[in-house]
Each structure stands twice: as structure tokens, then as C-alpha cells.
Assembly symmetry: C2
Amino acid sequence: MISVDDATEVLNRFSLDRITSVKLKDSFGRVLAEDIVSGIDVPSFDRSDMDGYAIRDRDLDGRRFKLVGEMHAGGDLEVTIGEGECSWVATGANIPDGANPIVPVENTEKIGDYVIVYEPGKESHISERGCDMKRGETVLRRGCIVNDRNIGILAALGIRDVPVYDAPTVAIIATGDELARINDVNSMTLSAIVAQSGGSPVFMGTATDEISHVKQKIKEASECDVIITSGGISSGKKDLMPIVVSELGEVLFHRVKMRPGMPMLAGVIGEKPILCMPGNVTSCLVCGHVFLPAMLRRMAHLPFVGMGDVRRARLSETVVSEYGMRRYLPVKLVDGVAYPTFKGSSLITSIGYADGIVAIGEEEVLTEGEVDVWVL
Amino acid sequence: MISVDDATEVLNRFSLDRITSVKLKDSFGRVLAEDIVSGIDVPSFDRSDMDGYAIRDRDLDGRRFKLVGEMHAGGDLEVTIGEGECSWVATGANIPDGANPIVPVENTEKIGDYVIVYEPGKESHISERGCDMKRGETVLRRGCIVNDRNIGILAALGIRDVPVYDAPTVAIIATGDELARINDVNSMTLSAIVAQSGGSPVFMGTATDEISHVKQKIKEASECDVIITSGGISSGKKDLMPIVVSELGEVLFHRVKMRPGMPMLAGVIGEKPILCMPGNVTSCLVCGHVFLPAMLRRMAHLPFVGMGDVRRARLSETVVSEYGMRRYLPVKLVDGVAYPTFKGSSLITSIGYADGIVAIGEEEVLTEGEVDVWVL
């Protein structure tokens, strides 16, 4: 049996560096696979930040200017202003050559063909060419996650196709003759964990407890970057996964010092990881939470923050653990108290209503009082 | 001018209660629109939790049992055991009628046709019919978000189609003649905020600064639940949105006591909300963050937790605000220090690299020291 930490370490060997290109609108949430270098100046011209009048001199409190033109955002009319002249400029418009400052419209009064400037203000209200981003500047780095703010940087540069790391595709296979009689729970819970870990789940359906059928399913799944199975790893006569994995590839570990989830197996088939989760629904979910986010987020080049959101809570009861096994106790949090929901690893309601897990160390046999709850 | 809080209150009037049905595999992350009542007992039979031998008596330490059959998960063979007899039962298999307990295989030894039981144990290792969920039991409530755990409950019940609240569809229109010359940033940033707020963004493209064109775009967008525009709401000659909204419907508010974002307008057209954001890219993003999550998450029936993740940080410099206006200051967090990134509301780099916003109250004019950072 291997410890949870050592098992995690074993899975660290798997990585993925496949790069793909997505349309800008589909890049939200993806990870940049290349540095982004600006190909243009932004803005590409000296731009007015205000609706107002462009003049040539700052020190003109109370003076009159002759209005000689209008410049609108997107317009292609070029207005030239001389001494004592002004031009209307709209927010976002380019400005007459050499103009500075723009006097906001609220600080002026228009009388006939003339504009009276009451207060030119201290600011120029001009965004100079390239002041937002300069051509040749590295504006975003490889590894950066595209979010609602920096997608605006990509948009401003006119980038249409964004180089991103490909999400790992994860084949999900449920095994077991019992699936002819009971509903497949594990494929759904595993695919949800895969999706929220940055992977792309691919449902492969179910396999019976026949070696040839399981092998066939794994063969069908070989296009995917990762294979996850559930069931068939205990000590029963129909627990075929150890045989199947060792025949098709190599078993990396089998049985982990954890409860629930002890029977878990991991292996490698054709350089790709295969994770064989227990068939018991709560064991399968716990193994998924313990091992998949770290592995899949790394393959997706997403940051991994361990147990993520951790809250302190008082355990509602004393919990007895088995020495040498890390215990993962699903709990429901109510007003700062963590109520264990575990009833048995084959029951989905053991974790179905849980909103956190308490991880109890291998050397703790009695746990009570304040604990860290890993919020799911 | 209206305060941010009053503007938020105005937008509270909009709701959506459209229900749709999605396949179980697509239900992850959605909100249940109906209570889920179990139509079956789970498990639907008395089920073995162990690989082992089913016997009829608990008090039989060290005794020999005649092996009379095997019951496998999913098998349809029924084995009957009498006194002194046992049957192999696999994990997940149903058990011989009246059998109790299941003796785990590791506590037994098989010799020929006989099984020696060393330690029957205290537990039955049987999950009785309905012990996970009972037929007729309400197992999940309307309003519950489908997550990686409770999707297992839906799967265990064999539910294929899940009744969920429909996500609001949000038409996004960028307006302004300048979009002929500069890249549209606002449609991308707004659609990202819409997507992460539980809405479904629909790109409508750009409209010029002509009333007829803007009206045409709004008409095309009328199938959507919400319309969001950017641009055309300042005091310039081509700022048409106040006219367009009042002609097609009703203006609810125009100009909000906030910086950036002051020009923002909201209205109602045919009972649907239209939010007209400023054209300046950082103003538009700030208005999006301030107003969209609350409105869209409510329409999507998702919980809304206000500013969400808030962290204390030390402001790197003293910030001067305008009295009476709520200031939203984009900041970059580095080692517990919040560095303002704002350079001007028309520059995307004012917020493109920010990872938080500091909200400064209407009555604060000088802000320094420790502040709350609303993490984006």
C-alpha cells in the first residue's frame, strides 16, 4: 500500500503540452500558451478622452475661440486649427494636429460660431498614441489565464485567434456487470470533477466484467489523454482491472492508505495515465477529489492550490479512524459545525449532500473539536 | 444622478423563471427548477457491501460452511442457503434470501467445497433495500445547484432529463462609429462577465451612431432576455442611447454616482432590461462588475454573494476621490499590497492587469492604509 502523498507524487509524472488555437470569444477561462506581443500601438492615434473643444493654448481663461470644425469618433475628417480657433472633438475621436488641451464641453459655452472657454483645466484629456499599449510590447505572458479583464487586452489588439493550452481529454469508463441492474453513478460524478478540474470528459459508456470487453473499451479510449475507470479493483473474482492494466501497460500503484478509496489503482498504458477508481460511489468520488484536480489542472496548465478553500469548523462528534490510513470524512457545514454525512462507501448519500471533507491524518485515531474543512 | 445602491435596487425588479430540461450530463452547474422525488428504492435490493460469504448465523466463530453457490453483482442467479451453508457474494451483488451477515473473504478460508469462518465480525456488510434513498423521498430541493456530489444522487435515481432554470440570454451590442477604426473591446469583456454570472452571451455585433441602426440592432436582440449596449451615453452629439431607449421604452436611470462608470443608463424595453454601459473600456468593465452579477445571477436563480471574495490589503498610495461619487479603483495585489492600476477610463490597461477592485465610499475623499479588496 502506498500513502496518499506518495501516490500523488507518482501521478506528478504526467503532463501535457499540446497547444491549440481558439477564437477570441472562446478564449475566456483558457490558459495562454504563448506570450502575447502587441502588433500595434493602442490607441493608434492621439485620442480625445472627452467631448469638448480642442484648442492650441492652455492659458486662455475666459477667451473666445472661433469654431472651425468637428471631429467625431470614427470620422475621417481632419480639422486644422490655428491660433484663436477650436474644433469640436468627441470622446474617442482623433484630435487636430498639435491640439492640446481638450476643454471639456461643460467648461465652455457656444455662442454662434464662437466658443467661450471658462476653465481649460489642468489635464490635456488626450490619450497619446501608444499610451495604452505599445507596438512590440509583451502585454500578456504564457501561462496567464484569460479572464474578463485581460480578454479586453487581446480584443484591443485585434487578436482573433488565441494560442491556448489544450484541455486534457479524459475518457470515463464504468465497469461492472452490476451496471446492467443499477444506474451508473460514477461516470457522472467523475465527469463533473474532470470538468471543474480543467479537463474535458468523454463518456465511453460501461464495460462488463469480461477482460476482453474492458480491454476493448480502453482501446476505444486510447485517443484520450487520460483514462479513468470505476469498479473492478477490489479482491473479488471479477475485479479485473489489475490484470487488464498490467497486461496493457504497467501498474504504478494499487491500494492507497486512505479510507474510503483504499482499493484505488493507477497505471500507465502507452505513456498515458489510467486511474482506476473503486466502484463504490462515495469511494470513487473521494478518490476523484483527492487525485484528479492536481493531475488534471497541471495537465491543463491551470494553477492548483491544493485543498483550495479551507474553513475551520467544530466536528459534531468524535470520529474514530484506522491507524495508518488517511481518513476522508464528508461533512455538511451548518453554522460552523461540521456534521459527518458518511454512512457507507456504497451509498451516494454518504457524500451527496456534503459540502466539505475533513481529512484526518494517518496517525490520528480519535478526532474531535476544531478541524479544517476542505470546502468542495 | 442616482446612487450605486439605488441603481442596484432598480435593477432588482427584473427576474426570470423560465424552466428547461437538460440531459443529466449537461446538468452540472445548473440550478434545479423542481424538487426531485425518488421514484425508486436505492439500492433496489438488499446488497452486499463486501466480497465474502453469506451465512445465516452470526455466532459461528471457526465453523465450517458448505459452499452452495455464487452471487455476482448484476447476476440474476438466486442462491438459497440453509443452516450450515454459505454462498459467495461479490460486492454489489444481491444476497441470498434471509442471509446475514456477509463474512468478508479476508476473514475466511476456502478448503475444497467448504469455507472456514474465522471471524464473522460485528457488521452485517449488507446495504438494505432503500437505505440510501427511499421511493417517494424528496432527495433534492428546487434551487439547489447541481454539483459533483449531488449529480450522483440524480444518476443513482436513473434520472435522464433534469428540470433546471434557463440561463438568461444576454444580447451584447457595441455602438459607435469609432468601431470602424478601433477594435471592439467591450463586447468581449462584457460577454466574459455575463458568462461567469450565469448568463448566456449572444454577440450582436456593432452598430453605428445612427438612431435607425441602433434601433435595428435592438430589435434583432429582442428575443434575448437582457440587452447590454456599450457606448453612446455621454453628452456628445452622437450619444444616442438615451433617445433610443426613451423612444423604444423607458429610461429607468441615467448617470450613476460612481467613477468610473458615471454615464451609465438603464431602461426597460418591452419588459426586458436594457443596460447601456459607457463606451470607455474600463468604465464599461467596472459597470459590468458592479451591476451584472447581481442581476444575472438572480435571473439565473444562482446565489449572489455580493462582492464575493474580499481580502484586506494595504493601499500602496493615498487615493483622492470626488465627494459624492463611489470610486471603484482597480488594483493589482502583490504580497498584501494593493497597487492601483488605473490610468484613465479609456485605457484597457487601467484594469486589464488588475486582480481586484477597491470600492471607496461616496463620503471618503482620501483613502490610505488598509482597505478591503474585492477580488475579481
